[in-house]
Each structure stands twice: as C-alpha cells, then as structure tokens.
Symmetry: C2
Subunit: 136 residues, 2 copies
DNA sequence: TTGCGTGCAAAGGTTTTGCATGGCA
DNA sequence: TGCCATGCAAAACCTTTGCACGCAA
C-alpha cells in the first residue's frame, strides 16, 4: 500500500508545471532545491519510475540523457521532434500518426507505444540558418 | 588532412559486418579484441563520431545507451522498432514513412532526419506473451 | 508499531578528455 | 619531419543501489 509523502507531491507538481515541456531528473532536483523543497535525486528517480509505470509521465531518451514530460491528454497523435542542431524539443500533433501506427501493427505486428515517439531533424529556425550559410 | 590507420579500418569493417544490426561502442571494442585487433574505447568513440558526421553510421539513443548501425542504403523508409519488454531492436521498412516526413515538413516546417527514427512498443512475441498471461 | 519512502553516499556504467606516445604521409 | 591518431588513465556524467533512519498509516 503506497504512502503519500511531501516529496511525491513536490515532484509531481513540479513536473506538472512543465505541462508542455520536458525536464531531466536533475533539472527537477535543481528546481525543487531552488523552491526550498529539497528532494534527493534518488527519490526523484524513484518517483519518476513510478509515475512512468502509472502512465502519468513519459520518459524520453535523448542524446544527453533521459528527460520526462507530464502527460494528461490523449497522446495518440502527439509526438516530439528534436532539433539536432539547437537541441530544442518541439511538441507536435499530427493526424497521420495513428493511421501509421495502425498500419505498422497490421503489417508488421508491432504495437507502437505512441507516448515515446521522438523524431530527429532540423527545426525551421535552424534550417533557415543553414540555407543562409550556404548562400554566403 | 585525415590519416588512414589500421584502427579506422578495423572499426569500419567491424560495424559493416553488422550490416542489418546495431552494436554499442563497447560491443565493438569487445569484438575487435576477440579478433586480436585491440582498439582502445576512446578511439572507437572518436571513430564513431567521425563516421556519424560523414553519414556512414547512424547513432541511436536507447535506454541502455547509444548503439550504432552501418548505413549504406537508401534510408527514406527504414526505421527501427525497439521492444520495450524484451529490448530487441527490429529493422523495418514502411512505404508510409516518407509521405509522413513530407507532410511534417510541409505542415510543421521540420525537416526529419530519417536515419534516426526509433519507435517503441511491443514486438509480436512479447505481445503474445502478454495476452497469454492475461488469460491465465 | 509497522514497514514503506527517503536521503546519503557509494557503486555502476557509459562516454569524454588530457597528455604522452606512435605511426602515417 | 610534422602532425594527426592512438592508448591509457582519469575524469565527468547520469543513474542505480545499499542501508540506516524518518515518517505515514
């Protein structure tokens, strides 16, 4: 039977406040410390594991380590785009995604977890810069 | 001006021999050592960086760290599927992928790097096991 | 009171870096 | 000969684990 603690509440509300963003475990630790609600990193990792198992948080593996995102909405068509140049992560919604997942399931018998889709590429800003550089 | 060395050749041919698979940097080191062509891990990481910059190798970030895959073919429709249960990585080809990339580029102005697409989910074997467990 | 959750510190693993050495051109 | 690439070891880094303690129920 799980206990409710001050730390659990703090971690959850902190990651919730990044609703449309994503944070690393260590960023959470830093933020909580700044707020005066210090929580040990071990506890943060353990909480994030639990929250992920409950489906309340997504864990996303990037080049720089794992980052986490709060999740309260339908995720069927949501996905993340990481710009390989500036490192920013964008959140998009694309209606063509769930048909693709269905197709993959029917043709290749693989059940996609839509919460973990992360594509890499170039964001608009960086793509523009590239073009500008090529011209000069 | 780059020099050509025994080690470079060894790393490249070793990763090439995994044509349809993927290896971690440390697995490469292990394999090379077993072949009697010991190469330091630092060198392997440095080589993989260069090969990735040249587009000859894909770097894929997984839960367990980075793995690398040789790349010599058109990659427009290739992608990877990682089973979240057994950890296996499958390589698939799906004609619906490049239209999706085009759509994302046109609608959301993000240029996808098709070499890095990695989706998560459940492979057929593990999905079957899940179903079996639920029934019992 | 019971035992789960926490914090600290240490361990674990992967990847990077500094520096002296070796080997290609 | 000049200089890049290598190897080793140490460092950096993120994440997990062990264990004693604190606190919720």
């Amino acid at each position: 039977m799980p206990y409710h603690t001050r730390q659990q509440q703090a971690v959850l509300s902190c990651i919730e406040s990044h609703r449309d963003g994503h944070v690393t475990a260590l960023e959470l630790a830093e933020e909580l410390r700044a707020k005066g609600v210090a929580v040990g990193v071990a506890t943060i990792y353990r909480q994030l594991d639990k929250l992920e198992a409950q489906g309340r948080v997504h864990k996303i593996n990037t080049e720089e380590g794992a980052c986490y995102q709060y999740c309260d909405h339908a995720v069927g068509n949501c996905f993340l785009l990481k710009c390989e140049r500036c490192g920013r992560i964008l959140h998009l919604d694309c209606a063509q995604l769930s048909p693709l997942y269905r197709h993959i399931q029917e043709e290749h018998h693989f059940i996609i977890n839509p919460r973990k889709t992360l594509l890499y590429g170039l964001c608009q800003t960086c793509a523009r810069e590239d073009t500008a550089h090529e011209k000069s």
